[in-house]
């Protein structure tokens, strides 16, 4: 017998003065391999045509569908109802501005994050279209890719106690991004530059290290190792042990 599921969904339209925040229950019969992408579309088609939520790739790669599923931030499209109890509570992720119902404004938040950490290669070199590409050994490329896999879903931010109480805290995704560029030999920022970026309370030292982020990251980024590496390097700078540009291309994950 198929299970009867109850979706308890947070509903609120901040644009509508008559709308009051609260949870509404929607019953739905479970079908084989049902995931939340399919389930929420069924609910929208059959019961709540104006229900807001965000899916784009529906394949776990675009990072659009972060939401609180029974209290835990994760990707809706990749979550199968079979893994959940019959009552499924869905709420928007905290820390981000609410757009309506389950939809939050991660776009503005992440653009801001990318601006703050200057998420691009800092280099004086000009592109030369007639030259062969600058070489890089494949191990380094793989290590950069490992950290470049963040999909900006925001789950780590939603799951972070520090980020929830401090708006200026950069969050795990930002620290990971900084780690990605620290590893990249093409980026000419040196230890001092990185120090300025992460050694404040908003950066790696503001992080309490409880690793809520590491538990929830759907891409299983090695956040633990990234933080440990950054702390080490920043402590070296703070205590004057760092050579000017030491280890820009050092591996994070040993």
């Amino acid at each position: 017998m198929a299970r009867q599921l109850t979706f308890r969904i947070f509903r609120y339209d901040p644009a509508d003065p008559d709308s009051k925040p609260g949870f509404v229950d929607y019953p739905l019969e479970e079908t084989p391999r049902l995931n939340l992408f399919v389930a929420l579309h069924r609910i929208r088609e059959q019961q709540a045509p104006d229900l807001q939520f965000d899916f784009v790739c529906r394949a776990g790669v675009c990072g659009s569908c972060g939401m609180m599923i029974n209290g835990r931030p994760t990707l809706g499209c990749r979550t199968l109802t079979a893994e959940l109890p019959t009552t499924i509570t869905l709420a928007p992720m905290p820390s981000f501005k609410l757009i309506g119902d389950l939809s939050v404004d991660t776009g503005t938040w992440f653009r801001g994050m990318n601006e703050r950490v200057e998420s691009w290669i800092h280099t004086q070199k000009e592109f030369d279209p007639t030259a062969e590409e600058e070489r890089m050994d494949n191990e380094t490329a793989e290590k950069i890719y490992e950290l470049d896999r963040c999909i900006e879903c925001g789950c780590c931010v939603a799951g972070c106690g520090t980020a929830n109480i401090r708006e200026d805290f950069l969050g795990a995704t930002a620290l990971n991004r900084i780690g990605r560029f620290m590893l990249d030999p093409r980026d000419e920022r040196d230890s001092e530059d990185w120090f300025e970026l992460v050694s404040t309370d908003e950066g790696v030292f503001g992080c309490m290290g409880l690793m809520g982020c590491d538990d929830v990251c759907p891409k299983e980024l090695p956040l633990l190792e990234v933080f440990a590496y950054m702390r080490r390097r920043m402590t070296q700078v703070a205590t004057g042990q760092a050579k000017p540009d030491a280890g820009t291309s050092q591996p994070v994950i040993s």
Partner: protein, 650 residues
């Protein structure tokens, strides 16, 4: 009055093509603003896994590669339906564009010199990778190519390239307005002035006025029921161009089905699976492709592999399942190490969405709608036919390097090459134009759209009674069932009739909700008539094209007919019409006369006209259709652009 926002260049779409074009236009000194339905990094480009083609020739199996070979593979892949000159611009510039992406920060997989193990045509082989190329961009094999030339980052190519591109956009301070949907173009019949845009946060309409408007809105795969495309790929960019009644859409019947969408859910697993040695098996776990395609086997072009799979299923060799028949993709022999590094996204997708472990189990796959070769018809600068100031790049455009079938890895590569070069032409053009600030025209265009919304929300039409979701489903099912991989006259006629009827019914939509703000039902209701129009262009184009070429395969006309059909279909939708007007133009100058592809096994009806005669007519036929004269005259040596680029950008 509604808000008016002005800029020099308005780019509709923040995928790879739109962002690359924006960067080029900004480099020409323009103020650029990008609109997107979603935050840029969530655009569909992020989902591309396999890689992008460029003839760098860095690895053992890429040795001797050249732009010339890449061009020829592309022309063959297109079944001689492409504009060969555009294919040259593309092939010549792809290596530069890839290297530039390396410079911007893409962590490309790199060559490791020394012995390396691969699976090629079902066998394990060890090759010596050249030590002198150590550290250059690596390549993998893909379908329909004569050399390994697909540049990649594991199986997250689109993700890393899009993130790198958006990093550039952030660095340059280019503004992006996300959750904004262009719902109509503002134009006076000869000149495009911008777009009416609906905010998906609040439902409010605004107008954006610009010297140049660029549509880079991606594919329209979601008009089909089963598609690998992101759910936002609903073709609004193409349909607002069609709505002008002036701009034609090219080759809309050319739809690509990818051999390996997983069953169920239709999520793509990359062609890189087969490029890296994955095999296709049938119900008996028998490897059938070498029987059909002895030379290319699993790696013939996509149209061919998808047809062979469909044929094989029709012979009773499919695997039955509650979600329909499928075949198997076998990746087991590639091993855990390979599947958890180079094909890691594939591994995750199989595990999370199917509960199948590809290290030990077979993956259920079937051909699934994947790519739109057709789109907004533009000249080789990316300038849309008939409407000055409107441009298009990427999957939404019919620039036409793909003709009737595109090769794997050529699309992602197209986005950055076309974005870079058409973006530059467009940027130069825009920098010489005055900004036409016709606020009256903008306000009028907004009113037209606001009236549509008001009518939908019930402030008018009493007789409305049609359900949005029901019509949406009926449209997708019609295209799926009747305008699929194999097509025949009778079914296509039925499809045209059904869609025509659905289009009429879509004028009487009745919403179930009344929320005025960011109501998703309103969003779909606004898109639906346009989607049905695109579907009609596909179906009618397919009905009229009585031959088989590339992705368009007619059971009742199995030959490729170069005598009558060396043509590009153009679909226009005159105001108030019930269906599109179809006309034709020559595909372009023929440098390589139509020949044999060497795979696919089809027969051809030869050209009667001489190539010289055919070429003589191209330009005047194009001008009749609204083609704009290009900055470099037609047929000039195109390498010139490369030289220009190097003086300008270095």
């Amino acid at each position: 009055m509604s808000e008016i926002i002005t800029t020099d260049v308005l780019v509709i779409g923040a995928g790879l093509a739109g962002e690359r074009a924006a960067i080029s236009a900004a480099a020409e000194g323009n103020e650029v603003l990008i609109l997107s339905l979603v935050p840029p990094r969530r655009s569909h480009s992020c989902a591309a896994q396999g890689g992008m083609q460029a003839a760098l020739g860095n690895c053992a199996k890429g040795e001797g590669d050249s732009e010339e070979l890449h061009w020829l593979d592309t022309v063959k892949g297109s079944d001689w339906g492409c504009d060969q000159e555009v294919a040259r611009i593309f092939a010549d510039n792809a290596p530069i564009a890839m290297r530039e992406m390396a410079h911007f920060g893409v962590p490309w997989t790199r060559v490791k010199g020394g012995p390396a193990d691969y699976f090629i045509k079902g066998k394990k082989v060890t090759l010596e990778e050249p030590r002198e190329k150590e550290g250059l961009i690596m390549h993998r094999d893909f379908g329909g190519v004569s050399r390994w030339r697909t540049c990649y980052t594991a199986d997250g190519t689109g993700h890393t390239v899009l993130y790198t591109m958006d990093n550039m956009v952030v660095q340059l301070g280019i503004k992006v307005h996300d959750r904004m949907e262009a719902i109509s173009l503002i134009h006076d019949g000869t000149r495009c002035l911008g777009a009416v845009v609906r905010c998906l946060r609040t439902g409010v309409l605004k107008s954006y006025l610009a010297k140049a408007t660029v549509i880079a809105s991606g594919g329209f795969g979601r008009v089909y029921k089963y598609s690998t495309n992101a759910i936002i790929n609903q073709g609004t960019g193409q349909s607002i161009a069609l709505d002008t009644g002036i701009v034609p859409l090219g080759n809309m019947e050319a739809v690509q089905f990818h051999p390996t969408g997983i069953v169920p859910t239709d999520i793509l697993v990359t062609e890189g699976c087969r490029g890296d040695g994955g095999l296709l098996l049938d119900v008996d776990e028998y490897r059938f492709m070498p029987d059909y395609e002895p030379d290319k086997q699993e790696l013939a072009s996509r149209d061919v592999v998808s047809r062979r799979m469909t044929e094989h299923i029709a012979k009773g060799k499919g695997v039955p399942s509650p979600d329909g028949e499928h075949l198997w993709l076998d990746l087991r022999h590639l091993g855990e190490q390979h599947l958890r590094t180079k094909l890691r996204e594939v591994y995750d997708i199989c595990m999370y969405f199917l509960g199948v472990n590809p290290i030990k189990e077979l993956v259920p796959v079937r051909p699934t709608q994947h790519y739109s070769m057709g789109g907004i018809r533009v000249n080789k600068d990316g300038h849309a036919y008939g409407l000055e100031g409107l441009w298009s790049v990427g999957e939404s455009a019919c620039w036409d390097m793909h003709g009737m079938n595109r090769l794997g890895g050529n699309s992602l590569a197209e986005t950055v090459v076309a974005g870079k070069f058409c973006g530059q032409r467009m940027g130069q053009w825009a920098s010489q134009q005055p900004l036409a600030l016709d606020t009256k025209m903008a306000a009028d265009a907004v009113v037209v759209q606001q009236n549509r919304i008001n009518a939908l929300l019930g402030d008018g039409l009493g007789k409305a009674n049609e359900n949005v979701d029901a019509l949406h489903d009926a449209m997708r099912e019609t295209l799926q069932a009747k305008v699929g991989i194999f097509r025949k006259g009778g079914e296509l006629e039925e499809a045209v009739d059904t869609l025509r009827d659905l289009y009429q019914r879509a004028q009487n939509l009745k919403l179930r909700s009344s929320t005025k703000g960011a109501n998703p039902e309103v969003a779909l209701a606004l898109r639906l008539p346009g989607m049905i129009k695109l579907g009609l262009c596909v179906a009618k184009g397919a009905l009229l094209r009585t031959e088989s070429r590339g992705g368009h395969s007619r059971e009742d006309y199995p030959e490729r007919n170069d005598k009558e059909w060396l043509k590009r279909t153009l679909a226009r939708w005159p105001e108030g019409a019930a269906e599109p007007d179809i006309s034709y133009e020559p595909v372009g100058l023929l440098e390589s006369p139509p020949g044999q592809r060497g795979y696919g096994g089809a027969t051809n009806i030869s050209m009667e006209q001489s190539v010289a005669k055919y070429n003589d007519n191209v330009k005047q036929e194009w001008i009749k259709q609204g083609w704009h004269e290009t900055a470099t005259p037609l047929g000039a040596e195109l390498k010139e652009m490369v030289e220009y680029a190097s003086t300008k950008e270095s």
